[in-house]
């Protein structure tokens, strides 16, 4: 193609061959200038700089691995929550375990993070549940260990017998709510540490007795609210410390679910068949405890949360989580007044629980109103939101902060168009595995718990079961001292708040907290 003269390359040709080099140089210079320009005008980076976002995520505590002496646990109640707690501790009945291995649903961290516990006592009034509990306690799912088999598990017919057993160090209470307070008091008096599921109380008087018993002991008490263990909670806490929200006058907590299961109608399974259990296999008298005597009812046995004889309903079941989450963030404690209203408009044949319920709590000293709005006939998602003059923060399994258009604190950033009231200025999307995956496997109720940050959280790039972390915190405090996050002071405040709301609804009155007398007044 070119004529060769065989005499090598002359200077002119040489220059021609290198014609691309200056073009390459020009591109390099332009690229360098463009990168520098982009860096300077990168809005995202500027927001990160202005808001100090670089170190915001440092607020998330890494999960520490502390090993200590073996703790032997007794579990009272093995209905729905009991098996979940056992799984979070690393125990799962064999056939369920094999299923989780196949579908990959088991949290890997539970298998890795050995809490060095054994379940040595089981107490349940229903034979079927007790048998499941025994099979669960005997099947340790920690990687590389058949640890539990060395510690035999015993079934107790009466929880007092379990409390008297010297081979049990601590008690987990997962019975229906009307037993919680008495069992906690009895366990503390028997010298056992207590992890009690929410709600701690059913009636007002129980708050004071339980508080007194726990305060007068040196035992570790933890209430079953796992939310403070989430990454989103820890970041929310840091955001409040940085005062992004400005003055907060209203906190809104909500519940929206729309299914019979979500409304605690649980005595029938998905196919509409009545669940197992009868007067022969269930010790009905012990199950009723101090509650009014009624003939055996399978509906009451499974759907107890809907009956005021056994529970405070939505307040104890879900508002308790909402209140704990907000109280752990704002530490606002007990309100001056509470007023509840609502009605049973849909599930009329089942117990006393209203399907629509609203409560307003006033904190005049803190210039704050807390509202709880629950709807069991619509699943339109609503968050848990703190409204401040500078920004609003919605916090659950995820977190988002939206600046207020009238904010003084962010006026400059708003004016420069770096942030806008139309979209979050900070968002944490990771956090809950279930919340982010729309799949047909997990139920609507499971989705609800995930969006509230009650199932799992992402810390250090790994998914953690938050119940595992909450139990771990309790066990760490038993071994090393310290106070767990959902301690008796927080439980006391929550108990009073639930009782105020519950009395207001049931007795159709306003309630007021008398801080001198430390009692609730009807007004």
């Amino acid at each position: 193609m070119t004529k060769e003269n065989g005499s090598g390359i002359d200077r002119r040709d040489m220059l021609k061959t290198l014609a691309g080099i200056p073009i390459l140089g020009a591109l390099g210079i332009q690229l360098f200038r463009k990168s520098a320009y982009d860096d300077k005008h990168n809005i995202q980076q500027e927001i990160v700089r202005e808001l100090g976002l670089e170190d915001l995520m440092n607020a998330i505590r890494p999960v520490t691995h502390q090993q200590g002496d073996l703790i032997r646990l007794g579990i009272a109640g093995f209905g729905m929550r009991g098996p979940q707690l056992a799984q979070a501790l690393g125990f799962l009945e064999k056939s369920s375990f094999e299923k989780t291995v196949v579908d990959g649903s088991l949290d890997a961290q539970i298998r890795e993070g050995n809490l060095n516990v054994a379940i040595t006592g089981i107490c349940d009034v229903f034979d079927l549940h007790a048998e499941l509990a025994l099979a669960t306690a005997a099947h340790d799912i920690h990687t590389g260990g058949e640890f539990a088999s060395a510690h035999p598990v015993k079934r107790f017919r009466y929880y007092h017998d379990m409390l008297a057993d010297p081979n049990i160090d601590a008690i987990i209470i997962a019975t229906p709510d009307h037993h919680h307070a008495q069992m906690t008091i009895d366990a503390i008096q028997a010298g056992k540490h207590v992890y009690c599921e929410k709600s701690l109380i059913h009636r007002e008087e129980e708050i004071y007795a339980t508080y007194g018993a726990v305060k007068n002991s040196s035992l570790v008490f933890q209430l079953g609210h796992q939310y403070p263990q989430t990454a989103a909670f820890q970041v929310a806490n840091e955001i409040l410390k940085r005062r992004w929200l400005g003055k907060i006058s209203h906190v809104e907590t909500t519940t929206n679910r729309n299914s019979p299961n979500g409304a605690w109608i649980r005595h029938v399974d998905n196919e509409g068949k009545t669940k197992p259990g009868d007067a022969q296999s269930i010790d009905w008298k012990q199950w009723l405890g101090k509650a009014p005597e009624v003939p055996f009812s399978i509906q009451r046995f499974y759907s107890w949360a809907r009956y005021f004889d056994y529970d405070t309903g939505l307040f104890g079941q879900l508002f308790s989580h909402e209140f704990d989450a907000v109280n752990q963030l704002l530490h606002m404690g007990i309100p001056k007044t509470a007023f509840s209203s609502g009605g049973q408009y849909t599930y009329k044949e089942f117990g006393d629980m209203p399907d629509v319920l609203h409560t307003t709590f006033e904190y005049p000293n803190k210039e704050l109103t807390l509202t709880y709005s629950a709807n069991l006939t619509s699943s339109k998602a609503r968050g848990r939101t703190l409204y401040g003059q500078d920004a609003a923060m919605t916090v659950g399994g995820t977190l988002s902060v939206v600046p207020d258009g009238s904010s003084e604190q962010f006026a400059d950033l708003l004016e420069r168009g770096l942030i806008s009231p139309d979209s979050p200025m900070m968002e944490m999307l990771e956090g809950s595995r279930t919340a982010s995956v729309v799949d047909a496997v997990s139920s609507a109720t499971a989705q609800y718990y995930a969006t509230r940050g009650l199932t799992s959280t992402s810390i250090g790039g790994q998914e953690w079961d938050v119940t595992h972390l909450h139990l771990k915190e309790w066990l760490d405090c038993i071994r090393n001292g310290g106070t767990p996050s959902s301690n008796i002071e927080k439980a006391f405040e929550e108990g009073v708040v639930i009782a105020m709301a519950d009395i207001s609804y049931r007795e159709n009155c306003r309630t007021e907290w008398d801080p001198e007398a430390r009692r609730i007044k009807r007004i």
């Binding site: 090598g8 040709d13 061959t17 990168s35």
Partner: protein
């Protein structure tokens, strides 16, 4: 004779200019992707239309495959761009560039039924700038004159 030679010079100059410009374009596309590691073909492939949309779906479905495709694309663009600017292995670079651009075109051809894409500048019907750039590269590949003003001259001299 003199007229012919002048005409050839112009032809050659225009061709080399085309080579430089397309080389610049492809090299910058590659370097941009290299210095922005967050870049991915994900959005492009996820919106793929036409008969290659199945392959695009397969690439997107696996993070491993997507990462490999992203890396191949980035380094492919850089290699092709360097080849065209420096005039080194010009023919191979032009052919590879042509093939790559045709692939882009076929993943998202401006069919009659295609919606005007938000990310695409201009309006096209069957013919797009990507297709034109691909054909220009084909022209460069099949025209020996395009190797002028490049390291290929040196390469060929030594090989001669």
């Amino acid at each position: 004779m003199e007229f012919q030679s002048r005409q050839m010079k112009w032809q050659q100059g225009a061709l080399v200019a085309l080579r430089f410009l397309i080389g610049w374009h492809m090299l910058y596309e590659g370097l941009y992707k290299l210095i922005h590691p967050e870049w991915s073909a994900l959005a492009f492939l996820a919106n793929a239309q036409g008969f290659l949309s199945g392959i695009a779906g397969w690439i997107v479905s696996s993070p491993g495959v997507l990462n490999t495709v992203d890396a191949l694309n980035t380094w492919g663009l850089i290699a092709i761009g360097l080849g065209l600017v420096l005039g080194l292995f010009t023919r191979g670079a032009a052919l590879a560039g042509c093939a790559l651009l045709l692939l882009y075109y076929l993943f998202n051809p401006p069919f009659i039924t295609s919606a005007p894409g938000a990310s695409v500048e201009g309006n096209y019907l069957l013919v797009s700038k990507t297709l034109i750039e691909a054909v220009v590269l084909l022209y460069i590949a099949v025209t020996p004159l395009s190797s002028r003003f490049g390291l290929d001259m040196l390469r060929k001299k030594y090989h001669a």
